[in-house]
Amino acid sequence: MSRETWAIETRGLVKAFGADRAVDGVDLEVPAGCVYSVLGPNGAGKTTMIRMIATLIRPDGGTARVLGHDVTAEAARVRARLALTGQFASLDEDLTGLENLILLARLRGHRGKAARRRATDLLEAFDLSAAARREVKTYSGGMRRRLDIAGSLVARPDLLMLDEPTTGLDPRSRGQVWESVRALVGAGTTVLLTTQYLEEADQLADRIAVVNHGRVIAEGTSGRLKALVGAGALRVRVADGADRPEVARLLAVMLGAAPVLEPDPVALSLRVDEPAAVAGALAAITERGLGVSEYALAQPSLDEVFLALTGEPADGPAPSREEAST
């Protein structure tokens, strides 16, 4: 695979469901060998985009190429190079975890004992050995998710697509997923993952595309996005609600950003560009006898990203639309 070839390259990709353009002219260039994250709220079109790239649905307009192969004209070649772990577990609930993986390993060309060995190795790696002989319908959500991801790795793909791989996972399982993504990239696989968490995109991805309403509204390295959005948000809870206006005023002066007074009468938050300045500001406030009961410095949430990029909060699908997975 030459470096000139994009792992994924889309031009004006469109998919419409009736009048609703779920994907509305997406140009994407994913360099081979990197982790690329597609970040967007519910209904942004992430799943639809991925399903077109994985040859599961046909684009209504535009083109998509995977490692140089067109997804419509050369679908078979595309399928040979990629693996997809969809947003919802794609397992056979009636079979055991081991049987599920053996099935997929055989389909990917492992024969006889080799298929079973591959399946066993993966179960062990994903901490599922103890449940290997249990039917998947008895698995917890996190176990299903891990088995589902293992199912994409029975043969190491050149391109792995993970649709919200860590939604609903506990921190340990999330860490395992992140580790496997890093390990795969180390072995030469390109990974495209969708997520609703900026933190995840930031931790894993070399590049991030932010999508909303079927369009890419920002694209670049995590550093570039942060420059647009700010490094993080400071959330403060004051001990006494009466102190809040004064604390807000002081923070605004010292950190140079406008605080947002939250519905909770003791809480306020503000955008922070220089995390280093926060400690000093908080110390100064405490010195004046104003009680701060709790503070947290966190990365901006998806909502804050959208607020910064579009001037309006991210919105989910309109209530009349149905959440669809097919």
Partner: protein, 282 residues
């Protein structure tokens, strides 16, 4: 004062097992060939019998119940004696059992679509029809098992096929051919209908009249004229009559040829539609 610090990278141990399993073993060059992929899906269908034996039992217990009930309760009234009735009704009971089971082809496929397993299979680098053809191969095996069940029970309560073992084998093969062909229609339904429950509903509406309004349980001469008209054009009638011929040791070449022709026709018509739907599904 509580302090949260949520910016740093969480410290996870580098799990070496995970990394070697993920990055290790180089991938095979290609997916399984057409035959292997098909057999793998057939294997899956067999595993399902092991894990969900209820499906097989539902389909077999029901007709067995009918066999016993009809034989001992109505047998005397319909034909004269329970034994004579069993001899008359067995081909119909057998056909009903297996024809009813074909419905599960649609239920299984539809469940796969709903649960997402279908997407996983469709994104594999394998011969496209493999999941469908493999499922049919597996289903045909299930039909064979169910037939053996019915004959086992019938033998226990005194049934002896006049046509002998050859007649029994012939009837079962005929049934499997017909039902595999019919399964293509169920695949179409499974690909079109929205939920597995809807598939069940639609199927029962079709299957009950087809299997009961036939000479399976009572001689049609006892039915009103308009019912007899339906019996005459019902394909299950044809199947039951052909199977009865084989079991009774008086095979009718015309009936057999018709059943085989009908099976061929169903495959030729339904298989391309099913495959097309499968490939085009968006």
């Amino acid at each position: 004062m509580t302090i949260h610090q949520t910016t740093g990278r969480p410290a996870f141990e580098l799990d070496t097992r995970l990394i070697s399993a993920v990055a290790g073993a180089p991938p095979p060059d290609t997916g399984a060939g057409a035959l292997r992929a098909t057999l793998t899906f057939a294997w899956r269908a067999l595993l399902k019998i092991r894990h969900v034996p209820e499906q097989l039992l539902d389909a077999t217990l029901f007709p067995i119940m009918f066999t016993l009930m009809f034989t001992y309760v109505f047998g005397g009234a319909v034909i004269g004696s329970p034994e004579a009735y069993l001899g008359y009704a067995l081909p119909g009971i057998l056909a009903q059992t297996v024809v009813f089971m074909t419905m599960y082809t649609a239920v299984t496929l539809n469940t796969d679509i709903e649960r997402g397993a279908f997407d996983r299979f469709r994104s594999q680098p394998i011969w496209r029809p493999a999941p469908l053809v493999g499922a049919l191969v597996g289903d045909t095996l299930r039909y064979g098992i169910a037939s053996a069940f019915v004959f086992g029970i019938a033998t226990l309560i005194g049934y002896r096929a006049p046509g002998g073992l050859g007649g029994v084998a012939g009837a079962v093969v005929l049934l499997l051919v017909f039902c595999s062909a019919l399964s293509w229609l169920w695949l179409i339904i499974g690909l079109t209908v929205r939920t597995p429950a809807a598939v069940m509903g639609a199927s029962t509406m079709i299957l009950f009249p087809l299997t009961f309004v036939s000479p399976a349980f009572a001689p049609p001469e006892t039915m009103p004229a308009w019912v007899q008209d339906f019996v005459a054009v019902n394909p299950v009638t044809l199947l039951v009559e052909a199977a009865r011929g084989l079991l009774d040791g008086v095979p009718d070449a015309g009936d057999l040829a018709l059943v085989l022709a009908l099976s061929g026709a169903m495959t030729v018509v339904f298989a391309p539609i099913a495959l097309r739907l499968y490939n085009r599904r968006t």
